[in-house]
Symmetry: C2
Subunit: 148 residues, 2 copies
DNA sequence: ATTCGTGCAAACCCTTTGCAAAGAG
DNA sequence: CTCTTTGCAAAGGGTTTGCACGAAT
């Protein structure tokens, strides 16, 4: 089984397969976001792409992530009111969202079962079901009684 | 059964019950957002509160909605990357989100069943499960074959 | 007098856009 | 040469903040 890390050329082919012209910047961004399961904001992708050096501009990161999402290479996660997260396209799964830390955590796929998904309103087509379980730091359920 | 519309005094009491000091502006905002099931952005609340006249400032609307949400009077819905929606606290239910129109539609409560909700990561407490079914205008499923 | 709420405008953050220059075929 | 992509900076839209004024206790 070829578990070797993907080369730049592999990524370039990945892009072309999805109808995205391959360029240096796009391959760099693809390497960052597609290399492993993770959730990154555009800002984080920007940092990771330009560690030290200066390869890709902010606008290009935003535009490229949007393009990748359109082309089905990555998925947008809307969980934080302040920013969008991106993750590689993988099998359907959902997320915990820690409102204290702004951190996103995968929920084991297949663990959640959703039944009775209703028909969408007339004249519309479903494109996806997103489940976000909001969590908060601390083990104490909502209203803890003060210890005195 | 007293289905009479709530008076300003009723709203004032509602606020106090939740630990929110009652003021003219807050009661006006409560009337707008709490009077019926609906999904309004802060912008929309601002418009509705100030129909014609000029009663509440933008900052106060934003701050007050945030306060209401904290105090459990209303619920934030994170579905649109661009803005937060607010709805009155009602029985648990979920939403369709039309990505073309930016419109939010209730899903009949009880229609969706979610099984296997996992334990949150150690050291965290669940505060809510949000399900958003993204939909798109048009009946044609994703890849329609051109008719020739 | 002290506390709390409001209004206004400016600040902020994330994201998108306009346009000229660079690159690919 | 023509089409696409990039970069930069500026604009944009939603939201928050700082501070002085006003209301309530």
């Amino acid at each position: 089984m070829n578990k070797r890390p993907l080369t730049m050329t592999d990524f370039a082919n990945l892009l072309r397969d999805k109808g995205v012209n391959s360029t240096l910047q796009r391959v760099e961004i693809a390497q960052v976001i597609l290399s492993k399961p993770q959730h990154l904001s555009a800002e984080q992708v920007l940092e990771k792409v330009n560690k030290g050096r200066n390869i890709v501009s902010k606008a290009t990161v935003y535009n490229t992530l949007r393009l990748f999402a359109q082309k089905g290479l990555i998925k947008e996660i809307i969980a934080d009111p302040a920013k969008v997260f991106y993750e590689p396209m993988t099998t359907d799964h959902h997320h915990f969202y820690n409102v204290d830390t702004g951190e996103l955590v995968d929920i084991d796929p297949g663990q959640i079962k959703i039944d009775g998904v209703p028909e969408p309103p007339d004249g519309s087509t479903p494109i996806g079901v997103d489940v976000v379980i909001r969590i908060r730091d601390g083990n104490i359920p909502k209203n803890s009684a003060p210890s005195a």
